[in-house]
Symmetry: C2
Subunit: 406 residues, 2 copies
Amino acid sequence: MSFRYQVHFTRDLFAPGNTLLRDVAAEPDKGPKKMLLIVDRGVYRHHPRVLVQAEEYARRHRDAVTLAARPVVVEGGETAKNDPTWIEIVHKAVEKAGLCRHSYVAAVGGGAVIDMAGFAAATAHRGIRLIRIPTTVLAQADAAIGVKNGVNAFGKKNFIGTFAPPWAVLNDFNFLSTLSSRDWIAGVAEAVKVALVKDADFFGFIERHAGPLSQRDSCAMRHVIYRCAALHLEHIAGGGDPFELGCSRPLDFGHWSAHKLEQLTGYRLNHGEAVAIGIALDTIYAYREGLLPEKDFNRILDVLRNLGFSLYVPELDASVLGGLQEFREHLGGRLTIMLLSGIGKPMEVHKVDEKGVLKCIEWLKNREDKNATFIEQKSRMPQIQGVKGEAVVKLRRVFDNAVDGI
Amino acid sequence: MSFRYQVHFTRDLFAPGNTLLRDVAAEPDKGPKKMLLIVDRGVYRHHPRVLVQAEEYARRHRDAVTLAARPVVVEGGETAKNDPTWIEIVHKAVEKAGLCRHSYVAAVGGGAVIDMAGFAAATAHRGIRLIRIPTTVLAQADAAIGVKNGVNAFGKKNFIGTFAPPWAVLNDFNFLSTLSSRDWIAGVAEAVKVALVKDADFFGFIERHAGPLSQRDSCAMRHVIYRCAALHLEHIAGGGDPFELGCSRPLDFGHWSAHKLEQLTGYRLNHGEAVAIGIALDTIYAYREGLLPEKDFNRILDVLRNLGFSLYVPELDASVLGGLQEFREHLGGRLTIMLLSGIGKPMEVHKVDEKGVLKCIEWLKNREDKNATFIEQKSRMPQIQGVKGEAVVKLRRVFDNAVDGI
């Protein structure tokens, strides 16, 4: 069995003349396809016209797609994944709207809403087609690209979920303009991660544009999202284990502590912020263990700081070590942690020296004050304006056409 | 991607010397594998030693398998699928026992418990290996063989579920001895169904042995289960659409009304009893529409009656027509109903004449009294004792070896 899904980049997805959504949903000779929209409350707050626009869009393209019910607005952020009521609300809406396996659930929102709505769609009638419309940097670059969904339970991230390839992923860059500064930069942590395990050149790009990225340079950000999404897709298509039957999960570099930190901070840290700390922790550990050269160690920590990430929180203490066991249990089999022997050079280890990790935490704690000063200095530095290069030009062409698959 | 799972037939699965379970679970060089047993309350009631036996079994084979927690006893029958608390209980047990994706959930029970526990296993950590140990005729012959799981919601059968191939299916014939007469015969309805759409010879076997089957001839029953399971497996492996992406589901012959009838009777009818009525209804309909010859029509209704099925309940009225729409919604796309143009000769139709169906219901209602007499007469007829033939001999060899794959 193989599977196939489309990933598109666009702007103004619900503009009447943008045919992307209708083209993705329409089936020849099948009449209008039923669709149920699930919308993140955060998106609705910042784009209050989105529901009306979507309804107008469906009216305009009523030969191809029909909204089977009024859009359902759900809580955004981890609340969507922590409270099982939201799954029930989506299931109920699917049932009431009379959706079938050939209908669509379209989830518009951040990674958490897409994960939750995706789980609800995957389990209603044993799987309704899911169109993901991610609206944050993190979701567009990472969370919405893959074949997974999930919700949290028993204080554990993604304890409940399935593997279910989406029907399509539609990235609308316009949604990014209203993100908070925290949400804007948080997603870049996943880009740093994928660059570190997959693509040293891409790491160089992020390194050179850390300033602009932290200053909301949207052109640099579009390139980061595009490249990050492409690397994720390549991994899924070429990695050989999309449904994670083995023990290895290279894209979860930095995540064993990140998932635990999110939970320990009661989700005060968002996923990207936790991943930045997780990357820092495993970077320091690899350096201390003599696996990673000092130069690379410095470059990685510098990039994280220059992007504006804080690399320490008071909850970062011995309790985070519980994340190792939870990580192993979630994936199964032998403990397999990805570390780095260089930028773009991942390596697997099956044993982690817990005392060594505690020393790394101590080091991060001691550096905390210095980091604050460091970030302040950086923000006074002149910024590199604009981004050039082939990839960005290619991306522009994509926007002109409004539609493109990766 | 392909998938593979084993189906075995045995007796006394938890007998210390029966190595089937350990062989299925063990992995070379991986040490003892964690297993969590979920046991149907009905099984526990009739086999109160089963929990102790399982624990002794695990102690005896502790180099290969270890019970990660005490077995969890859950409610049997549709209650297991109607009350979402049971899923939560299984999830919680998985979490507490620290199972990982390479561990096992082993579900011992009827089709409902296996469906529910299978859903819980498929969604914990995005999928823990599931070993199905079905204990009823229906579950061994049909429900536990396939790649589906599910629970009921909003009054709809299997509204929530996933497609998830099991790790293995272990059929222990000994469990059948304590079934009630209703549960004993109910499962044969699914065998009649699969014979009608797949195998006219097998239908002939059931026809010839309807008396012995209804009189608890276990040798005839073992052949029915074995052949029914084999036909289901062949369909899944060779049918081309194991995950039902299309609109057609030939093995759901007779099921559009059966699922609705179960719900309309508040699950007073069990699944097999409802399927028997569903088969009768679609058989009469096909005959009335001129699709099915009278001779076949008579043979099918005779078999159902000779097995002891009642083919009418007061809830069988116009409300059952709602099942057509629910059936279409569940599968998706165009309405596709399987009818027969002969025994072993299925044909798809995409339109059902609702008035015609109501006439068939009327006909079944009018025949109700006569049927009662008919069954009474049959039960006074001399019974054919014993079963001979190559297939049964082959099956006996299987039992001698305790283990065999299909």
